[in-house]
Symmetry: C2
Subunit: 198 residues, 2 copies
C-alpha cells in the first residue's frame, strides 16, 4: 500500500467525526504521523476500549460499563427526583452543574417527525415502568427548549399528569453572564414573562 493510501484513509476517518473539516483532519493526520508511537496507540486504544466497555445502563439508558451506570448504582441520591433527558451527554451536562441530586432517565432522542423518530423509538415505555416502581415525586422534563424538545416534553407530560406527579421543565431566560443586547427576542420575551420577584 502506498503512503498516500494510508494517509488518505486516516484523513477520511477523521473527516467523518463531527466538527472536523478537511483542513482539521489533515492537521490531525500530520500531527499523528509526527507524534510518538505511544500517543497514537493510546488514542486508538481509548477508542476501542470505549466501544468495547461502554453500553447503555439497563435502568436509565445513560452510558454504563456495568449493568447499571454509576448514578443508578449510587443509593445515596434522592429517589424522589427523576430528570428526563434526551441523550447521555445531557446527564453529563446536568451533573457538572452540581445542582441536581436525583436520578436520570435518558430517552435516547427526541420526537422528530422530520427525522422519522416517533415516541415508540424513545425509552418512554421504560420511563412509565420506572415511575410505577420507584418512589418518584417530581419529574423534571429537561429536554432542550426547541421544537423537538418541547414536543417531546408535552407528549410525556400527558402521561405523567394522571399519575399525580409534579412535572416541571427547566427555566428559560437569559444565559448567566450573557448580554441582554445579544439575546434573541424569543429568549428575551421568555425571560420577561418568567421574571422572578426579588
Amino acid at each position: 500500500m502506498k503512503h498516500s493510501d494510508v494517509f488518505e484513509r486516516l484523513l477520511d476517518e477523521f473527516g467523518r467525526l463531527p466538527g472536523i473539516g478537511p483542513k482539521s483532519a489533515q492537521r490531525i493526520a500530520y500531527f499523528l504521523l509526527n507524534a510518538d508511537e505511544e500517543q497514537a496507540r493510546r488514542l486508538a486504544q481509548a477508542i476501542l476500549e470505549a466501544k468495547r466497555d461502554v453500553h447503555f445502563c439497563s435502568r436509565c439508558f445513560s452510558y454504563a460499563t456495568d449493568d447499571l451506570c454509576e448514578i443508578c448504582q449510587d443509593e445515596s441520591r434522592d429517589q424522589s427526583m427523576l430528570c428526563v433527558v434526551a441523550e447521555p451527554r445531557d446527564v453529563g451536562a446536568l451533573e457538572r452543574t452540581g445542582a441536581f441530586n436525583g436520578y436520570y432517565h435518558v430517552l435516547g432522542g427526541l420526537i422528530s417527525p422530520m427525522d422519522k423518530i416517533g415516541p415508540e423509538q424513545l425509552h418512554i415505555q421504560e420511563l412509565l415502568s420506572r415511575l410505577a416502581q420507584e418512589p418518584v415525586e417530581e419529574v423534571i422534563l429537561a429536554t432542550s427548549p426547541n421544537l423537538e424538545g418541547e414536543t417531546t416534553a408535552s407528549y410525556i407530560a400527558r402521561f405523567l399528569k394522571p399519575l399525580g406527579l409534579t412535572v416541571s421543565r427547566l427555566a428559560s431566560g437569559l444565559p448567566v453572564g450573557g448580554d441582554l443586547d445579544y439575546a434573541d427576542e424569543v429568549t428575551l420575551g421568555r425571560a420577561l414573562s418568567d421574571r422572578r420577584e426579588l
Copy 2:
C-alpha cells in the same frame, strides 16, 4: 473501570490533538460512543496502520511506506529541480498545485533558536550529500516567508551558492483572489517591489 474513566480517557486523548478543544473532544467522544462499532474500529485501525506503515523516506525524508517515498520512486520527474521544504505536509501542499514536477527534500523543521532547533537537527547535511550525487540544477528553498523560514533559507543558501546552482525562493505577494484592502503592509510592500511587467 467506571464508565466515566473510559470516557475521560477518550476525552483526554482527543483533547491532545491539534485544534481540538474540550468541547470538540466531548462532541467527538459522544459521537463515537453513539457510532456503530465498525466506524470506531476503522478509525482506530487507520491510526494504528498509519503509525505502523508510514516512516520517513530514506532519500527526501518525506513520508513513505517503502524505503523510498512515491515521489522519489517516480523516475519520470525532473531531476534537475529540487524543492526544499520544512515538513512532509509542505510536499503535499506543493503537489496539489500541480505546478512542480521535480523532487523534494524535507528538512524536518526550521532553524528556531526559540525552540532550540539548530541547523544540525535538520536534514541539511543530507541535502548537501544529495546535491553532490544528483544532477540538480535549481534548488527552490520553499520554506515559509516568516522569520524561521527566511533564516533557514538564508543559512542553506550560503552552502548552495558556491556549488554554482540556481537558488530560488517562492514569490511573496498578494494571495490570488485576495483583496488588496485586506493585505498587511509587509505583504503589500513585497507585492509592490516584486511587481511583474505585463
